[in-house]
Structure formats: C-alpha cells, structure tokens
C-alpha cells in the first residue's frame, strides 16, 4: 500500500440524482454502445499498427542503422510508450465504470459480519473493484473494524486494494503478456486472502489502539448515490483524466529507462545478480522494495528490461510486490491505529507471502 501511489485517490464522480425512466435508460445505454463500437475498432486498428509505426519512424524517418544500441532503444521506446498508454486509457476507463458500481460503504456492508475464510476471499476480490485511496486507509480501516468486519477480513481488503491495481495489470499485460499478468493477479489475491486469514487467526484485536474501538463509526446517513449510465461514463472519463493524467509521466520515464537498458545493457548481465542461481536475491529484492517510493507505473517498465537481461521472474515479481504492497510511509500512517506488534505481523506475513511467491516462480519458470 503506497502513500505516494495514490493514483486511484478519491475518484471524482458526478452525483446527479437524475430519475430517468427505464425506457430512457435503455435508449441511453444503446446509444453509448453504438458509440463505443467504432471507437474500439479505431483503437484496435491503431494498436495493431504500432509496431510498424515504431519501425518506420526509427529506420525510415530517423534513418538509424539497424541493429545498433541506439536504434534498438529508440524503437523500443517508440513502440512501448503508445502501446502502454493506449492500454492504460482503455483499462482505466473500463475499471472506472466497474468502480462506479462500488463504494467503500457498499463494500463494508457486504463484508460486515462475514465469516472468516469466505470473508477473506470476498474482501480480496472487492479490493480490486472498490475505489480506494491510500490517504483514506485509516478512516476506512476504522470504519470497517468498528462496524463488524473482522480484523483479518479488513486486512485482506487493505492488502489487495493497492497491490492488485489496474495500472500494474495493464503494464504487466502490455510488456510481459497475459500469463504474467494473470500470475500477478492470482498470487496477489492469494497473498491478500491468506495474509488476512492468518492475521485473523492470530486474534490480534487487542493490538489495535484503544481509541479505535471507542469510535462509533458507520451509519452516517450518507445518501446512496443513484448513478445512471451517463454518470457512469462520466465517472470512467474522470478516472482516465485523473489516473492517466497523473501516471503518464512515470510510464514514459520508466519506458525510457527500460529502453536504455534494452539497448545498452548486454544480454545476461543481470543473471549473476538477480538470476535464479542467486537464492539471496529474493529476500534482498523484498527488503529493497519496502522503502522504495515508486509506483507501479514507473517500476514495471524497468522491471521488464531487467528480465530481458537475465533477471529471474520470481525475484522481479517479489521486488515489484514489495514496492507496491509494503511501504514505510503507509506503516507510519497505520501506526496511529495499530500497535507495533500488529504492524510487524502485517509486514511480516505479507513479506513472507511475497518471498514464497518469489521462490515459487524462480523454481517453476
């Protein structure tokens, strides 16, 4: 969970309380679907041409010779940047629309009073689709635990929400393919479920700061927003403006660094430091990852280039998860509600899960 990575921070949604008739609603929806099809087709056609485009610019327009460091780096940059940004816009828009159906309040209602195991699974899944801002981690945490969501279930949510984010998934899909993206999604969810479950089993409720349990939270009488499709589309557009507007720079910067590594660092360079043979590289990757301030957008293109040069997938995955899911500033904030023993348990359990994922993938792949 990142304080810096507050890209999903408090997505703006319009809250017009329009009362459309159902027939109108259907018409509006049909119109949007009609608009969406040509847009998607154009998007797809451009996306398919990106490789030709990057080659044409590099070798014809810039007239760089084939096969040297510079042209290899330039081609990489010109291909990956528009590709990742196009994917990002599409996915952030889609996720924005899905998120317009969920609010932290609704998620809390679903999770309140749930039994542990099922609750952990549900909480980890809801962590993906609930709009969540790490700056409101503390009020959300208190809201959950004081209104009947078990502590372990709350942790499952708090681990999954930042770790499994759409930006990380898009970048992984764009740069590594769907298999790696699916592995990240699956293991990220598993860590959130199991870590939350373990914390719940350890019965650590007494390690909450006393004032937390005295708070009468929840039921603040917020009016549920009644969104229609126009609002949801607007929500998606706002999400794109906000998230892509914030991360595009890190994406471009990350790809530029990645392009440099791609073009200039010799093949197999990373194998000795971050390769499979180096068993100690996994824990070190996790330790280095914790205090790092980067977000998914900046770190993944760099990670991609490292893998190309021989770094082992598990080590890199562990590094990335530690960067995204465990962060010092966040622990400082959580310290206001958790006693040190619980923070240490949280970091320990999640860190241990990440270590296992790292070793597992170094063994499997």
């Amino acid at each position: 969970m990142k304080i810096i990575n507050n890209t999903q921070c408090c997505n703006a949604a319009s809250n017009n309380h329009n009362n459309e008739y159902t027939s109108d609603k259907k018409n509006v929806m049909r119109r949007y679907i009609l608009y969406a099809i040509p847009v998607l087709v154009i998007w797809w056609l451009i996306y398919q041409r990106l490789s030709d485009f990057s080659r044409a610019v590099t070798y014809t327009f810039l007239n760089l010779p084939e096969g040297n460091h510079l042209s290899s780096a330039v081609e990489f940059f010109l291909f990956e940047t528009p590709k990742v940004l196009m994917l990002l816009i599409l996915v952030v828009f889609g996720v924005g629309i899905v998120r317009s159906f969920f609010t932290p309040e609704k998620t809390r209602k679903i999770l309140a009073g749930k039994k542990e195991s099922a609750g952990n699974i549900l909480a980890a899944l809801l962590g993906i689709v609930t709009p969540f801002c790490s700056c409101s981690a503390v009020p959300l945490f208190i809201g959950f635990v004081t209104t009947g969501v078990p502590l372990g279930v709350t942790f499952s949510f708090l681990i999954s929400a930042p770790m499994v984010n759409e930006i990380a998934l898009v970048l992984l899909y764009g740069l590594f393919g769907w298999k790696i993206a699916a592995i990240y999604l699956g293991t990220g969810l598993l860590i959130a479920m199991i870590a939350g479950w373990v914390i719940g089993r350890l019965r650590m409720e007494r390690h909450l700061e006393e004032w937390v349990l005295q708070i009468q939270a929840g039921g603040n009488g917020m009016v549920e927003e009644n969104l229609n499709w126009t609002n949801r589309i607007q929500y998606g557009i706002d999400a794109v403006k906000e998230i892509v507007g914030k991360v595009w720079f890190y994406v471009v910067l990350g790809i530029a660094v990645g392009a440099g590594i791609h073009g200039y660092v010799p093949e197999g360079f990373m194998a000795s430091i971050m390769g499979k043979g180096a068993w100690w590289s996994v824990p070190i990757a996790v330790l280095i990852g914790i205090p790092m301030y980067s977000n998914a957008a900046g770190i993944i293109p760099v990670v991609h280039a490292l893998i190309e040069k021989g770094a082992a997938l598990g080590t890199v995955l562990a590094f990335m998860m530690a960067v995204i899911a465990l962060s010092l500033p966040e622990m400082v904030i959580l310290r206001k509600v958790l006693k040190p023993a619980l923070i240490a348990t949280f970091a320990g359990v999640v860190g241990f899960g990440i270590l296992i994922v790292g070793y597992l993938f170094n063994m499997l792949i």
Binding site: N6, C9, C10, N11, A12, A13, S14, N15, T103, P104, E105, R108, P131, C133, C135, S136, V138, P139, L140, I142, G143, W211, V212, I215, Q216, A217, G218, G219, N220, G221, M222, I333, K336
Partner: protein
C-alpha cells in the same frame, strides 16, 4: 450549533492530501461567490476524522450532516448544500 441560525458550520475532513486541499479551496471559493456567512474548518487530525464515521477523505460536513465522502465535490453540488 444553533446559536446563530444563518451562520453555517462547514467542516472539511482530510489529513492533507492534495485532494483535500483542493476541496477546501473549492468550498471556500463557492462560499465567497455566493456571499454566504459560514464557518469553515479544516479537520486534519486522523482521530477526529475517524470520529465522524466517514470511510474516506476528503469529506465535507455541513451543519453536522455528511455531504460528500472520498472525492472532490463539484461546485454545483456545494451550492445546493449551502442554500437553505
């Protein structure tokens, strides 16, 4: 809160993230534009914020009523909150 009826009490809850600052600016601006006498207070203490029972920040509370949670409110919305 009822000692002065037309003196509205607006609280903006937020630990100090950029969104919370923007929310405060926007609220103050609307109040100035509409010429409404209101007491605007920024609540940054996380313990106090939690005490209001909101799930996210920034949140806006007008005369004890939670109006908006987890996002920057739109100007038109703020106008409807402060008009009686």
């Amino acid at each position: 809160m009822m000692q002065e009826l037309d003196f509205m009490e607006i609280k903006i809850l937020g630990p100090g993230c950029p969104k919370c600052k923007q929310t405060e600016e926007i609220v103050r601006q609307v109040i100035a534009d509409e010429g409404i006498a209101a007491d605007v207070e920024k609540v940054t203490d996380i313990m106090k914020i939690a005490g209001y029972g909101v799930f996210g920040t920034p949140a806006v509370i007008v005369d004890g009523e939670v109006k908006c949670v987890g996002k920057i409110p739109k100007k038109e919305d703020i106008k409807t909150w402060i008009k009686k």
